[in-house]
Symmetry: C2
Subunit: 274 residues, 2 copies
DNA sequence: TATTCCGATAGTGAC
DNA sequence: GTCACTATCGGAATGAG
């Protein structure tokens, strides 16, 4: 068992690690990332042996003995929501008397939490990241950390919905490899799933363009200039300057909450389970 | 006054720095390098304002108001000998009762001390390095330190003898730029300085080939693989491995002396004036 | 090529 | 692509009154 199988013992015997595992049932465990790259950083990890070693870009596109890919996706979506709720609870804990902030917390939950997977996971057990977008953390230590969440190396959970891939298959099977946008536009008129397809307009053409070439992906996280996803400012290769900037962004973002206290966040890191 | 003029105050007022300056008279000061790159590392620094800012590769090739280049070279040679004697005194001090080692010390003096200049000095005042060949020192910290003494970037004092350049000039003036080895061989028969030229045979043809191109010189110290000048072993860019090897070579070399004690050498560094 | 400080870059080993 | 550790490599500032 190498480092890459670090989650194996958790999904096998969650009851043995009560301090680490925030939630578990027969389907998943939810844990805090041991090296969180943001103030809040959770992982949703399916427990099934049949599923755990499937590549994250394939996991929801195939069917299993007891569950279809679509059903697995929908199921995981419920656990992602649970992880988001854990984040909200964390925030309430950090800011103490936050009853007045519930509206802001909802907005926060809906727009400031990223959910998705790494195109090349280092840890082999399938896991879904649920992470706040501050990237303010002592464990955020170099360019690859940041770019693995802020480039195409990171694939949003919504882009993994097999419904999108199913449509892609439909297009391909009808038009063949040479099919272009015209084929794509034409099939919205005769599919039985029009209502669903209409939810994703032509500007969603990229939905199945997940990069799988490992060299290309490594290049993306190694070579892409560091860019703040909030304000768009680029920092080239100057990671420490990005860190300073992210800290400013973080103070602004979390400062919207009453009782915001940076020391509470620092304490959060010091108290976190190792 | 920038860092590059660090020696200026010493040559102006040597009497103000008695703890740093090991020897001084009207012509030169001799100091220990403040960041010695070997167990023993002295600098011979001419005091004359007329001379001090001449490039080391030119300094002995031109005449001054009160001294010719050749006279300056011969004069500096006497101070180089004095610096070597200071090194011998250092070694005696390190090993304490070394009366029995005088023969070995003479051999050491004649074959283990390098004398010369850097092709691109960082400190502007003309200075001649007189340094033991161990390169065992806490101040030996990176590749450029080592290569600045162990590649063509370092020009031996013997190669700066203007006698050699004078002969080169003779060749060039007689044969023109296209002149080759035939011209070189022919002029030994009709020069009034035959006796001198005969001291440097045809295998000394490289005597004036000092590289002056700055880019080329920078490349030499930056790119040349690290190579032990004692045993010839190459260490590529692995400076720390070279350091370990040099330490072994040093233990062997200095172990030839009675009463060798490595801790004495370490103490030597800790006690050295800063 | 002076030093020192900081930081970016690169390779390793981990059980 | 995990971490932590070591080391290599790269730029920038450096003083004095």
């Amino acid at each position: 068992m190498s480092f890459a199988d670090a989650f194996q013992k958790y999904i096998k015997s969650p009851e043995k690690f009560p301090s680490i595992i925030k939630y578990h049932d027969d389907n998943v465990i939810i844990i805090r990332d041991l090296f969180p790259k943001s103030v809040c950083h959770y992982l949703v990890i399916p427990r099934s042996n049949e599923i755990t070693h499937i590549h994250p870009l394939d996991a929801f596109y195939k069917d299993y003995s007891n569950i279809t890919g679509q059903e697995l996706y929908d199921l995981m979506e419920t656990y992602v929501t649970k992880a988001k709720d854990l984040i909200i609870e964390d925030l309430k804990g950090m800011f103490n008397k936050c009853e007045l902030n519930n509206l802001k917390l909802q907005e926060f939950k809906n727009s400031f939490i990223k959910v998705g997977v790494h195109s090349i996971p280092s840890l082999r057990n399938l896991h879904i990241h649920v992470i706040t977008s501050d990237f303010e953390s002592p464990s955020m230590k170099h360019k690859k950390h940041y770019n693995s969440f802020n480039t195409d190396f990171f694939v949003g959970f919504d882009k993994l919905n097999p419904m999108l891939n199913k449509r892609y298959q439909t297009i391909v099977s009808r038009s063949g490899p040479a099919g272009g946008e015209e084929d794509y536009a034409s099939d919205s008129t005769n599919s039985e799933d029009d209502n669903i397809y209409d939810d994703y307009g032509d500007d969603q053409i990229e939905y199945v363009s997940h990069i799988r070439n490992e060299g290309m992906l490594m290049n993306i996280i190694k070579q892409s200039p560091l860019k703040c996803q909030s304000c768009g400012k680029s920092f080239g290769n100057k990671f420490q300057e990005l860190k300073k900037h992210l800290h400013e962004e973080y103070l602004t973002k979390y400062g919207q909450f009453d009782n915001f206290d940076h020391d509470n966040i620092v304490q959060y890191y010091e108290d976190r389970p190792r």
